[in-house]
């Protein structure tokens, strides 16, 4: 039992002692942070965890970040070019949103089409229900006697 309790202590010491030493003062492309909006657009596919890279701390995520840093900060690719490179190497599943092409338009346009279609259905339904006479009738103001009667009636419920 006690031995088991030592496990995290050993892990912590190991992590403290042997984690990579980074040169400070001179930030290199290898250490430069990746903007969050870039990470958020990528899925960690290397070890199959399939989490958003921004939320993933596995070794595979570190490797993927290394690739992104190389492309963006060493080779000077912009965000879209980096995404295109990742998609070419790992397939579209590396991107957090399906590229807007081909069959993927079903995902992008489906909700709009369904909602607009639903709206049209409701409009036609209402037209049928309401009928063609849509003249607005002015509500005549209550005469004082009716207003008094209404007040008296309302008091029963208040």
């Amino acid at each position: 039992m006690k031995r088991l309790g030592l496990v995290p202590v050993i892990i912590v010491l190991f992590a403290l002692l042997f984690s990579p030493i980074t040169a400070h003062g001179s930030e290199t492309w290898e250490t430069r942070p990746i903007p969050l909006d870039v990470e958020s657009g990528v899925i960690c596919v290397l070890d199959g965890c399939m989490m958003n890279l921004a939320a993933c701390e596995t070794l595979a995520a570190q490797k993927l970040r290394g690739i992104i840093r190389e492309k963006m900060f060493k080779e000077g690719l912009d965000k879209e070019q980096t995404y295109a490179y990742l998609a070419e190497v790992y397939g579209d599943k590396v991107l957090a949103a399906p590229p807007k092409r081909g069959f993927n338009w079903v995902a992008w346009l489906g909700p709009i089409v369904v909602t607009i279609g639903g709206g049209a259905f409701i409009y036609l339904g209402l037209e049928k229900w309401v009928g063609s006479s849509l003249r607005e009738e002015e509500v005549a103001p209550l005469d004082p006697e009716d207003a008094h009667r209404l007040d008296e009636e309302l008091k029963k419920y208040l």
Binding site: P20, T22, H24, C49, K93, P98, A107, V139, K155
Partner: protein, 674 residues
């Protein structure tokens, strides 16, 4: 050790009794045999009792740490605090299904023995019992919670247990699943009564009235489940956000969306005797989506941080989901002719039609989330390419629909029933529209220029002003009639129609959440920085000083590495506090868990994550400044308060044709006066 056998036997016996109960209900309904009906109800009670016995035995094993039971071994360890040992009941597949069964069986008892709707209860109870039978079958033959660890178990010490996933060792994860299940299971009841209305060709709104509280309770728990889930994600996942659009998160959002649509559309049926078919369709979709969510979590068909995948189990859930959907569709198609409308729409511009639009947007939103969630599977099936659909997709697709929903939330309360005139529209909306325009201009002049921020805040002001206008106007009318003081009139107005005003409080909570979502998505800042001890860096209006990196013992064999960051105000230089993001190491897990260092105010959250550290003590931090996030939680709890306010069982929360008819007349007349 005999207890494990007793636990398993309880499940098998409950399965047999549930099958008996279903048959007994069918025969009792057919033959009108009261004795048989009583026997069927007895079977329901027995199933609930046996599921309680099985649950208690599993809890006993979990609390006592009997690692010869596979489930106990897989989800607990000797170092696990008692609080989490108990919560291990729902940490894994079989335990959580047992919890589901436990809740469902007792809900069924309440339905079966309820004095309301005695003619409908036997049918509804039979349908619910059929659900229980499915879960019992799964527990008995696919994922037995009392299965023993037999022989050599790879990679573990049987005397200690493999331990609970560190990410689940968080209070949010203790309450999130239970509340979500209470919501999921709760929606089975309006579904059962909806199907009963179709089976019995009951064209009235009896089933709606019987299940109104059940529906609101289910919705309340599902809302709480989503809220707890978001809080857990915010504190535990360490990516600065609270909603990642993960498939399992979406699975609990889907029935919430359609359930919300159902809650609104039943009002039309109650008041106007309309939308009967649509309500049955909605409740069926909501119920099926709860099963679909369970299928997603259990099948492993989609990758998720929350899922416990098992292909075989998933297959059975899929079959059951499709079966229940098919039954629902067949009943709706064959019986919908009986659900004739009592009244019809009288005008394009009316509260009824605005509710229809509200339903359209909610269902459209649900469809967007559903399509996005399953699109990876569709894509793979159609084009052989698996794509990912994550937050960027959902944010783009759902934002316009979400804003449209909030606009409707502002419009609906101020439109009259039956027919709104252009004069009443102008009277009701002039002040809110002017206030909204002024607010947008104000915000713009303050330097907020992003379209979504302007739209979000503008719509929030519009909604708040319509809600306040409605309440103030009502108070004035009451004052005029009764002569009460403003405060007294306001207080009595609120409590006399709890259902309506509870709804307004819920809307207010939603608007606070909209403000938080808008702020945290449009003006959030983030920074990843590697710094040495003693070094300072800036983000937003803060200066952070990294003072030290240390290690501490958290007890229960957990060790934490934490960094201390002193937080100063950038402008005044005043020390605001110290945050300590940490990584916690567990004996049972290779991966440490992230514990964020958080400084929260009503204005913004300073959210810090210790991402990495080096031998020389330097450390890498991820820092986020998330504006207005506190309002998300405040809004969430306002929503919960509003729901409880609406549910509170005193005068004003009641429904029913008689009351509603009276209310209907009064409100129509009040609207006329106003």
């Amino acid at each position: 050790m005999l207890m494990a056998e007793v636990g398993y036997f309880s499940i098998v016996l409950a399965l047999v009794l549930s099958l008996y109960g279903i048959i007994a209900f069918l025969m009792a309904i057919r033959t009108k045999n009261q004795a048989l009906l009583g026997s069927a109800k007895g079977a329901i009670l027995a199933v609930a009792f046996l599921s309680t016995v099985a649950s208690l035995i599993l809890i006993f094993f979990l609390m006592s740490g009997d690692y010869s039971i596979k489930y106990v071994y897989e989800y607990t360890s000797r170092d696990l605090p008692g609080f989490y040992r108990f919560s291990a009941w729902w940490a894994g597949n079989s335990g959580s299904l047992l919890l589901w069964l436990f809740l469902l069986s007792w809900y069924t008892v309440v339905v079966a023995y309820s004095r309301k709707g005695k003619l409908m209860a036997p049918y509804a109870s039979g349908i619910l019992l059929f659900n229980s039978a499915f879960f019992l079958f799964v527990l008995a033959f696919l994922t037995n919670p009392f299965e023993r660890v037999s022989g050599w178990y790879p990679g573990a010490i049987v005397s200690a247990g493999a331990g609970m996933n560190p990410m689940l060792q968080n209070p949010g994860m203790v309450f999130h699943p239970v509340t979500t299940y209470l919501g999921y299971v709760g929606f089975a009841i309006p579904f059962a009564y909806g199907m009963t209305a179709l089976i019995t060709k009951n064209a009235g709104d009896e089933w709606i009235r019987i299940t109104r509280r059940w529906t609101i309770v289910a919705w309340l728990f599902l809302s709480l489940g989503n809220l707890f889930g978001a809080q857990w994600a915010y504190m535990e996942l360490g990516w600065g956000g609270y909603w990642g659009w993960d498939p399992v998160e979406n699975a609990s959002l889907l029935p919430w969306l359609t359930g919300t649509a159902f809650l609104h559309s039943v009002m039309i049926q109650e008041r106007k005797d309309m939308l009967k078919v649509w309500n049955v369709v909605l409740v069926t979709i909501t119920y099926v989506l709860t099963l679909f969510g369970t299928f997603l979590v259990r099948s492993g068909i989609l990758t998720s941080v929350h899922a416990f995948g098992s292909n075989e189990l998933g297959r059975y859930f899929l079959v059951f989901t499709v079966f229940m959907l098919a039954v629902g569709i067949i009943l709706i198609v064959t019986r919908s002719a009986f659900l004739t409308q009592g009244r019809s729409f009288e005008a394009f511009l009316s509260k009824e039609s605005s509710f229809l639009l509200n339903n359209l947007v909610l269902v459209g939103l649900a469809f967007a989330v559903f399509l996005g969630t399953i699109f990876p599977i569709i894509s793979e099936a159609v084009q052989g390419v698996k794509v990912s659909v994550g937050a960027p997709f959902f944010n783009i697709v759902s934002a316009p629909l979400g804003l449209a929903l909030f606009i409707l939330m502002g419009i609906c309360p101020l439109i009259a029933w039956r027919k709104a005139t252009s004069k009443s529209l102008l009277d009701n909306f002039l002040v809110p529209i002017v206030l909204t325009a002024v607010a947008i201009l104000d915000i713009f002049l303050l330097g907020i220029r992003k379209p979504y921020a302007l739209a979000g805040y503008g719509i929030a002001v519009f909604c708040i002003s319509t809600i306040l206008r409605e309440i103030i106007q009502g108070t004035w009318v009451r004052q005029r009639i009764t002569g009460e003081s403003f405060l007294k009139a306001l207080f009595i107005l609120l409590i006399r129609n709890r259902r309506r005003h509870g709804g307004y409080i819920i809307h207010l909570g939603m608007v606070l959440m909209l403000i938080a979502i808008t702020g945290s998505h449009t003006y959030n800042l983030d920074l990843t920085k590697t710094v040495k001890i003693g070094e300072t860096f800036e983000i937003g209006s803060y200066i952070l000083n990294y003072s030290h990196l240390s290690q501490r013992d958290l007890g229960n064999s957990r060790q934490a590495v934490y960094a201390s960051l002193s937080v100063y105000d950038r402008h005044s230089g005043r020390l605001l506090g110290v945050v300590e993001p940490q990584k916690v190491f567990y004996p049972t897990s290779d991966q440490p868990s992230t514990e964020v260092g958080l400084r929260t105010t009503l204005k913004e959250d300073l959210y810090t994550v210790l991402a990495d550290w080096q031998k020389d003590g330097s450390a890498t931090f991820k820092i986020f400044v998330n504006p207005l996030v506190a309002w998300l939680w405040i809004g969430g709890y306002v929503l919960i308060f509003g729901t409880i306010f609406a549910l509170w069982p005193v005068r004003g929360s009641q429904s029913g044709a008689h009351y509603l008819r009276r209310q209907d007349v009064i409100e129509d007349e009040v609207e006329g006066v106003v």
